[in-house]
């Protein structure tokens, strides 16, 4: 197992080969495609790990771990424990009511507050659910009041509620390591800032601020110390400087216009992960999905061509993915420019073809690029202009405010400090000591007279500053936000501040010598600046109350800009030069991961444990490489399967080196490496959250002064290896027979061409399956509702928002890296990612898989204690308190969606947390954090916290079903269901929605009552695209999926597996 893995090619017989020709073969990882030794060995086993009990039986007593003495010890212990437990009286429980009960709070009833999430550069219009004054869940706001994010959320917004209860948050102001009072801090810092302003400059260093009131506060502060003495530098870890600078040249505005993916018929993305991380992914996902939905009434969809190097979900979702090296992303833009603007020809045929398709859809097309190269973005502007997209798919009426940073800010800060002109630095929502590609900031900070961080959790920058004056968490704050010009949002606190923190704005106002709360300041600002422009009844108070209740107001759009072709022609040669300077060998691209961002979210365990949608790796960063290259160069592709040990490579680029395990990701072209930024955050208090390595120092300033995230690189193999918690082949359901992949009906797809001819395309076999269903069992009766779910594979982007939403809603524990590696992650829903086709550039299907609530559930028949059984509403119920942990059900589940609590992950038992440890394998620190009373405040009180030794699984959010039914009963009416508009967006919400459904930015998940003829799910169940996963085994699942349709010319895609062999 430990030597270099051998590729096993599977020799299919002629007959099998013929079959393979007829049907697509899907695989979740290369180890499965290649049927590696480790993969096969594990597949043979009933349970992944040996049962610990077996060793004590099979080993001789003299050598075994357990013997008669242990038995007697255990016996004695259990008898004593039982005796003690029995003699103890029931504990006295207290009920402590309010002195004055606030009118809106009733114990046991959740309150929802409209507020605005803007953290780490991500904006989302949200509703926060609070119980007894504790925020426990973030939901998307309804469509009407979420003009930008359209009611969707992303994984980060969903997870942000956990950060509120982070035990590592600052409990009050600090001078160095010493705690001080606010009075002391105010006085000392105030004096020092005055002195600093007298001797030089005071710099406020922040990430992009989208709050107009905060900007006004900063202005006030600047005035108070003299405008010439104050400078506000804006720097974003994930840089958009290139596109901003380009727009300044092309339009005279350093802003980013609105992109309307819903209007685009042909979309070409060049290295822009607009469904995952780029600019405004929640909004883009929602808009993109509108044109991706197909139905019998609308057999048309947009065409999406994606040109990228390091694979992203956007590329994986596209109709045609063109895999290129990082430098060729630039060349592709030049090619597009040459064809579309200059009327020339393209070097690359595929790109040339894409350009022709764009030209055929003038005014209804869209080209976006994620490059941070100003010249490349100038070319993209020229392309979009030539295509007539400005005014249609790209509009300047409401440009984004969410990205305003400049890469020059960081150099300017360091230069100012080193020159001695900058005497004081204040850091707000910014962690440049970690995110700065330029070294030496921490040392330069020592030269300042006073440095202050407003961070509310420990980070690298707060460790380097002399003072920390912690800001409130966003859930504890009043604020406002203007994500797009003229769309104003309010942020209201949903809990009293937990620690002795103070809003940044209030602190700044105080230092400016102004008394009064920030809340009053916002109101005054709104009264004089926003209410005057908005339409309302005339009274500010009613306008303000409504704005806070809704969370959003809109004022008429005013933005206009006209295109100037300035610098575009020079840009062609500049971009070509940049591309050729990267050479033709190996290049690396540093990308933003969906979960961690620029590192802001690295201290959030929910996000750390969210499998990356592309690589399915948790808790780490790594070097992405082409699987073919990997094997050729002696790296292992399956991580020695069970142990998941990956060979560490030493990557050198821009004079920097980093050692990280190397992982093969299908779709990565030869000669391309990728590393996610945001990991290796040494400033985080909990060492487990510092996993991976930081790579911001690799980014080098290009000629335009902006940091380039691509570089020439070399990779050297080391003799080290490292374990990665990769989940791609966990809970695998793709194969049945050992020794060969046998096709099962798991995912189905077709092309638009085929679909237009026949709605049944790709799903032809279902008819036969349904016809041949016979059963020995009685049919269940569902007199009331029959709960069902439909997932549209065409619009699921695999982003992972639903997974985190499920964690939050259902108290799903964090188990830690080591447990994940052992295939013990507890996520109730996983997003399976199936590859098909060539390793170099496969087709990908994302499939969220949760309990399928089968009508004929195999798990129910094997439970010896009937802990899992069927309800009259179609639920496959799981009674935790009845479960004795035999795990037969999990073993018999064909979908592998059941999760076993190997430890007491969330302290469900009253016993001490050390009970979660055995065999010298302690629970991770992060999991133990979840035992702390503070962190446990995030738990949903309507859902049982499961204890050790019980099985659990998706319940279809039964607490929400029960709650929704009860509301209907109380109102003496029938249940109302979700209503969808014609374009598939939500028209009206009903009584019941599952957590995954509401989290989804693309409405890919629909839930409802199948017994209601009018419900949306009933209609979808009759859709000819609907199919159940492996329904040929007659489980009769209550979750159906809609076939994925790809819009491309190729006819049905027959292919033989492309086996390749390492070439000597």
């Amino acid at each position: 197992m430990s030597e270099v893995p051998l590729l096993i090619s599977i020799h299919l017989s002629n007959n099998d080969q013929h079959k393979a020709m007829a049907e697509k073969i899907y695989w979740k990882g290369i180890e499965e495609k290649e049927q590696s030794e480790g993969f096969r060995q594990l597949a043979e086993k009933e349970f992944r790990d040996e049962l610990p009990v077996l060793s004590s039986i099979t080993e001789p007593i003299s050598t075994g771990n357990s013997n008669r003495r242990d038995f007697l010890k255990m016996l004695g212990f259990s008898v004593t424990a039982a005796a003690i437990a029995a003699s103890c009286e029931m504990p006295v429980r207290k009920s402590i009511p309010y002195i004055w009960r606030p009118e809106e709070i009733a114990p046991g009833i959740a309150n929802f507050y409209a507020t605005t999430f803007y953290e780490g550069g991500d904006y989302c219009a949200v509703l926060v659910k609070t119980r007894e004054g504790r925020p426990i869940k973030v939901e998307g706001r309804n469509l009407k009041n979420a003009r930008v994010t359209k009611g969707g959320t992303n994984a980060r917004a969903q997870a942000s509620v956990l950060s509120l209860y982070d035990g590592a948050r600052f409990k009050g102001p600090k001078r160095g390591k010493e705690n001080v009072s606010w009075d002391t801090a105010d006085k000392e810092i105030g004096d020092k800032l005055k002195a600093a302003a007298a001797a030089g400059k005071v710099v406020l260093f922040s990430s992009t601020i989208i709050s107009p009131s905060t900007k006004a506060v900063i202005e006030e502060y600047g005035k108070s110390i003299g405008e010439s003495k104050f400078e506000h530098l804006v720097y974003d870890g994930i840089s958009y400087s290139g596109i901003l600078d380009a727009n300044e040249k092309s339009f005279g505005k350093r802003l980013i216009p609105s992109y309307n993916f819903a209007k685009a018929k042909v979309i070409v993305g060049v290295g822009a992960d607009f469904l995952g991380t780029w600019l405004s992914p929640v909004e883009f996902s929602a808009d993109y999905a509108i044109n991706r939905r197909v139905s019998d009434d609308k057999k048309d969809m947009s065409r999406h061509i994606h040109i990228e190097s390091v694979p992203t979900i956007t590329g994986y979702k596209s109709d045609t993915r063109i895999a290129v090296k990082p430098s060729d992303e630039l060349n592709a833009i030049v090619d597009l420019y040459n064809v579309i603007v200059a009327g020339g020809s393209a070097k690359n045929d595929k790109v040339g073809k894409a350009a022709k398709e764009l030209l055929a859809a003038k005014g209804e097309s869209l080209v976006v690029s994620g490059s941070n190269d100003t010249n490349a973005q100038l070319l993209v502007n020229a392309i979009n202009n030539a295509l007539g997209n400005y005014g249609t798919t790209i509009t300047w009426d409401r440009p984004y405010n969410t990205k305003q940073g400049s890469d020059k800010a960081i150099t300017s800060l360091i230069e100012g400090l080193n020159a001695g002109t900058t005497k004081a630095v204040l850091f707000y929502e910014s962690n440049p000591v970690y995110t700065s590609p330029v070294k030496g900031l921490a040392e330069a900070l020592k030269k300042a007279d006073v440095t202050v961080s407003f961070a509310n959790r420990q980070d690298e920058t707060s460790l380097a500053t002399t003072y920390v004056t912690p800001d409130n968490h966003w859930l504890e704050s009043w604020n406002d936000a203007e994500p797009k010009a003229g769309i104003f949002n309010t942020t209201q606190p949903t809990i009293t501040k937990l620690f002795d923190t103070r809003p940044f704005q209030e602190t700044l106002l105080k230092w400016a010598g102004k008394e009064g709360s920030y809340y009053d300041f916002i109101q005054k600002y709104w009264e004089s600046n926003i209410a005057t422009k908005a339409e309302h009844g005339g009274l500010f108070w009613s306008f303000w109350d409504l704005a806070v209740a809704d969370g959003e107001v809109e004022i008429p759009a005013t933005g206009v800009a006209s295109y100037k072709a300035e610098g575009a022609s020079d840009a062609v040669s500049a971009v070509s030069a940049t591309a050729s300077s990267l050479g033709s060998d190996f290049q690396v691209k540093f990308y933003e991961s969906i979960a961690i961002g620029d590192g802001y979210w690295a201290d959030n365990p929910w996000l750390q444990e969210l499998p990356d949608p592309v690589s399915k790796i948790t808790w780490d960063n790594y070097i992405i490489a082409s699987p073919k290259w990997l094997v050729k160069n002696g790296y292992n592709f399956d991580g020695d399967f069970k142990e998941k040990r990956y060979i560490v490579g030493k990557l050198t680029a821009n004079g920097q080196t980093v050692e990280l395990p190397v992982v093969g990701v299908p779709g990565t072209p030869d000669g391309t490496f990728g590393i996610a930024v945001g990991y290796g955050r040494e400033g985080i208090a909990n060492p487990e959250l510092r996993n991976g390595k930081g790579v911001f120092q690799f980014l080098a300033a290009a000629k335009d002064g902006n940091f380039s995230n691509i570089a020439k690189a070399t990779l050297d193999k080391t003799d080290k290896n490292e374990q990665l918690a990769i989940t791609q082949t966990h809970f695998n359901i793709t194969m049945k027979d050992l020794g060969g992949i046998k096709t099962r009906k798991i995912v189905k797809e077709t092309t638009l061409h085929e679909y237009k001819k026949d709605s049944n395309a790709g799903n032809e076999d279902r008819k036969e399956i349904l016809e041949n269903m016979v059963t020995l069992y009685d049919k269940h009766e569902y007199p009331g509702p029959h709960w069902t779910m439909v997932v549209d594979l065409n619009t699921c982007t695999g982003c992972g928002a639903c997974v985190v939403a499920c964690n939050a809603e259902n108290n799903v524990p964090v188990v830690g890296k080591d447990q994940v590696r052992r295939s013990r992650e507890m996520h109730w829903m996983r997003i399976d990612r199936y590859y098909t086709g060539e390793v170099d550039n496969p087709d990908v299907v994302f499939q969220p898989l949760m309990c399928q609530h089968c009508d004929n559930a195999p798990c129910e028949n094997v439970c010896p204690v009937a802990a899992t059984n069927h309800s009259s509403e179609g639920l496959n119920q799981m009674a935790y308190n009845r479960c004795i942990g035999t795990r037969y059900c999990a073993n018999n589940c064909p979908y592998k969606v059941r999760r076993f609590n190997w430890y007491d992950y969330q302290q469900a038992d009253a016993f001490d947390k050390k009970w979660g440890t055995d065999n010298n394998r302690p629970l991770s620190e992060t999991t133990l954090e979840m035992h702390e009373p503070l962190t446990r405040m995030v738990l949903n009180p309507d859902v049982t916290v499961r204890s050790r030794g019980v099985m659990e699984k998706c319940s279809f959010c039964v607490q929400r079903l029960q709650g929704g039914k009860l509301e209907a009963k109380k109102a003496n009416r029938v249940l109302t269901g979700l209503k969808l508009a014609e374009d598939g967006t939500v028209k009206e919400y009903g009584d019941i929605h599952t957590a995954c459904q509401t989290a989804c930015p693309t409405n890919a998940i629909t839930f409802g009552d199948r017994n209601n003829k009018e419900s949306e799910v009933t209609k979808m169940f009759q859709d000819e695209r609907a199919f159940g996963v492996i329904e040929e085994i007659h489980t009769m699942p209550n979750v159906l999926y809609l076939t994925q349709v790809r819009n491309r010319e190729e006819e049905k895609h027959y292919e033989v597996i492309d086996y390749y062999h390492p070439k000597a």
């Binding site: 029995a86 029931m90 006295v92 429980r93 207290k94 009920s95 402590i96 009511p97 309010y98 002195i99 004055w100 009960r101 009733a106 114990p107 046991g108 009833i109 009766e781 007199p783 009331g784 509702p785 802990a867 059984n869 309800s871 009259s872 509403e873 639920l875 119920q877 799981m878 009674a879 935790y880 308190n881 009845r882 469900a908 309507d942 859902v943 049982t944 916290v945 319940s955 039964v958 607490q959 029960q962 039914k965 009860l966 209907a968 009963k969 109380k970 003496n972 009416r973 029938v974 249940l975 017994n1011 209601n1012």
Partner: protein, 427 residues
């Protein structure tokens, strides 16, 4: 009763001394003017509309009302209305009286900042007269002693198992008697035998016989086994749990005597999962005025005042800074893996509070009436009918409606619609 007494007294008028005649005559005259029906109506209206803020004889949120008629009359006529008529205007809508600038009304308004409710449309003129009749003569017909039901509630509980105990003692007495008699007859037989000269082998005592010992051991094993299982099943159950509470709050007084609706205080039982323990501001709705209880005087109510920070002397929340919530002992506890929702039962199911909580209105000190065991829950779900016909929610249960029509089932219990399934309570 007192009225009858006076009636009798008036019959005996001729037999009493002159002094008594005068005294009694005085009382009779005073009471003869009061129409009891009107007085009672006034009292009821006062309790339901005014008592939250007013007391006839003591200052509360509003002033003491006895003598109000005289005071307003003292304000004199104005704009063609007498003082009493202006009082009516004030009660209907005090703004009108102030806006009309009736001097006494203006003075009232400026001396008391608290705003009175508007009763126009709620109280008719006759109602106001009845209320005024009551407040002026609130002590005219004293109520009978109110302690009876409360005392009854207390004793019902302690006397509950008395008959059982005496029966056991009687049976035990009989068994001992039989044993003694058997012993005596045996001994007599023996003596007779001895006298007759029959020598019998010494008898083995019955309790030394193997059969008896085996039987006893078997009985013991069965009994102990049963007891252990029974004890195990009841582990963690607290039926009858009756802890002492920090304030000796009597449900018998509030819910029993005063007939305050359960949900006046526990209002979230109707709305949501939990039935709330009332916050102290709910207590203060009444206890701003009621500072003395029938049993413990001011002692227990003073605890509320201390907790909420109320200063009874100034009638303000002067001590709010030192307010500290009351830590009640929770009586009804369910395990963490059980989800129970009050509104499901109280609101949707129209179940009476007493069905589970027992006769709380008779409890001076609340105890857990029901076992709160799963068997108890399930039994009720099997027997209780849901609001199937009256609640529109169930209109989609077409098959069951059909079954009812076809008379294949005669009632729809909670179980019929799946109310005994695991995930109705465990999730």
């Amino acid at each position: 009763m007192i009225l009858e007494h006076h009636a009798q007294a008036s019959k005996k008028l001729s037999l009493t001394t002159l002094l008594t005649v005068f005294l009694c005559l005085g009382m009779l005259v005073a009471h003869a003017e009061i129409d009891k029906a009107k007085w009672s109506e006034g009292k009821a209206l006062f309790k339901s509309n005014c008592a939250a803020c007013h007391n006839p004889t003591a200052d509360g949120t509003g002033p003491a009302l006895k003598g109000a008629t005289a005071r307003w009359d003292g304000g004199g006529s104005y704009q063609g209305k007498t003082g009493t008529q202006w009082l009516h205007v004030w009660i209907n809508n005090w703004h009108d009286a102030v806006n009309a600038k009736y001097p006494y009304a203006v003075a009232m308004r400026s001396s008391r900042p608290a705003e009175m409710n508007v009763f126009a449309g709620v109280l008719k003129d006759a109602d106001i007269d009845n209320i005024l009749l009551y407040v002026e003569n609130s002590d005219a017909f004293a109520a009978p002693a109110a302690a009876a039901p409360a005392a009854g509630g207390g004793s019902a509980q302690s006397g509950g198992n008395a008959p059982g105990a005496s029966l056991y003692i009687f049976v035990l007495f009989l068994i001992v008697l039989v044993a003694i008699l058997i012993g005596v007859t045996n001994r007599l037989d023996q003596i007779i035998d001895e006298k007759k000269g029959i020598v019998t082998a010494p008898k083995t005592r019955f309790y030394k016989k193997p059969n008896f010992i085996v039987a006893v051991i078997l009985v013991l094993i069965v009994y102990c086994g049963y007891a252990t299982v029974d004890w195990g099943v009841h582990l963690g159950r607290q039926q009858g749990y009756q802890p002492d509470q920090p304030i000796k709050f009597s449900h018998a007084l509030h819910a029993g005597t005063h007939k305050i609706d359960c949900q006046y205080c526990h209002q979230t039982a109707y709305k949501g999962k939990n039935s709330n323990i009332p916050s102290l501001n709910t207590c203060m709705n009444c206890h701003k005025n009621v500072s003395k209880g029938p049993k413990y005087g001011t002692e227990e109510i003073a605890k509320i005042y201390a907790a909420v920070g109320w200063d009874p002397a100034t009638k303000t929340y002067a001590n709010a800074a030192s307010a500290k919530p009351v830590e009640w002992v929770r009586i009804h506890n369910l395990p963490d893996h059980v989800y129970f929702n009050h509104s499901q039962h109280v609101n949707a199911g129209k179940v009476q509070c007493q069905t589970c909580h027992g006769p709380v209105e008779t409890m001076d000190q609340v105890y857990q009436y029901s076992p709160l065991s799963m068997g108890w829950c399930i039994n009720c779900h099997r027997q209780t009918e849901v609001q199937f016909a009256s609640n529109n929610y169930y209109s989609t249960y077409e098959k069951i409606h059909q079954d009812l029509k076809n008379k294949t089932i005669d009632k729809v219990t909670v179980e019929t619609i799946g109310g005994t399934e695991c995930q109705k309570c465990h999730y």
